[in-house]
């Protein structure tokens, strides 16, 4: 099982992702430079967080035209493996059309950097197979544009196909307005595509998968991916 972490100009969580796969999951992992055109054999591609291309125009808008994105789209659409976009990676996946909707400026206009609670809404995906439905995990967010927005038809479609994977909740698992850090519709923190092989999420599992970092709940997601591959 081989992981690839894509580095765009301005990515800043690429080493965190690399580190967590190599040292915590103990799986082979390579960096993929954005200018490459063809993916080698990988089973899981990680689009890391950061500020690709300075977030100019819109977050993720320019990154989705990077050379490597062509093959990543094919990889995702043909089901050659899994793709997970974290934070800026999620923004890139929506801009690329691999996930529906868009991520707008946080309702508060503030950059939010804190631990939040997430509820697992669907554990029948390769990203959540080691979780229980309704399970609450604590994972940090760090973003200025995480406010998930989509039209009514798209939201209905997401619900129908069980594509909503994580929602923001309080520590008891209640999905409330107070627990919504950024104004996301339906408290959405993470969604996947219809095929369930592409996940985008704003919170950072790679930042809480080692005891020394103050939390290990991110491991539920990483271990699920490992199990599924």
């Amino acid at each position: 099982m081989r992981f690839g972490v894509v580095t765009f100009p301005g990515s800043n969580c690429d080493y965190d992702c690399y580190n967590v796969v190599k040292r915590v999951l103990k799986e082979p992992v390579d960096f993929i430079w954005h200018a490459e055109t063809k993916l080698d054999h990988f089973d899981c591609i990680i689009l890391p967080g950061g500020f690709s291309y300075g977030d100019y125009l819109r977050t993720g808008a320019i990154a989705h035209f990077a050379n490597i994105m062509g093959d990543i789209k094919e990889f995702a659409q043909k089901g050659r493996g899994l793709v997970i976009g974290i934070c800026n990676g999620f923004q890139i996946l929506t801009e690329a059309g691999l996930l529906p909707g868009a991520l707008q400026r946080n309702k508060s206009l503030k950059f939010i950097c804190k631990n939040v609670h997430l509820r697992c809404e669907n554990n029948k995906t390769p990203f959540t197979a080691k979780m229980k439905k309704g399970q609450v995990v604590r994972i940090p967010v760090a973003h200025g544009e995480g406010n998930y927005t989509a039209d009514k038809a798209t939201l209905a479609e997401l619900k129908k196909n069980k594509q909503i994977i994580f929602t923001y909740c309080d520590e008891k698992g209640r999905v409330t307005d107070e627990a919504n850090p950024n104004g996301s519709m339906l408290n959405i923190a993470g969604i996947c595509n219809k095929k369930h092989n592409v996940l985008g999420m704003m919170p950072h599992p790679e930042r809480c998968s080692e005891v020394i970092l103050g939390g290990i709940d991110g491991k539920f997601i990483l271990d699920s991916i490992k199990k599924g591959l």
Binding site: F65, Q104, K107, G183
Partner: protein
């Protein structure tokens, strides 16, 4: 010929516009109680070489669709003038 395309990108109607709301609040606190609503968009100028205005328009339309606006949340309009 050289053209200047002035592209305006706006948030779709009904979408939350937190920047507009914040600016509206600031204007009100400056005493402009008449302010009903403020909306924030983007203004982009693209200087482009083209044979004629129609060709320039075609290219700018493409650019808006591909990159300048995100159709999920935004609408765009533009004016093109020769420079």
């Amino acid at each position: 010929m050289k053209f200047n395309a002035k592209v305006t990108v706006r948030l779709k109607k009904g979408l939350l516009d937190p920047q507009g709301t914040a600016i509206g609040g600031a204007l009100k606190s400056l005493g402009y109680s008449q302010v009903k609503e403020v909306k924030v968009g983007k203004f982009i100028e693209v200087i482009i070489d083209a044979k004629n205005k129609a060709e320039a328009g075609k290219k700018v339309e493409e650019m808006c669709k591909k990159l300048l606006a995100n159709p999920v949340i935004e609408v765009y309009s533009y004016e093109i003038e020769e420079v």
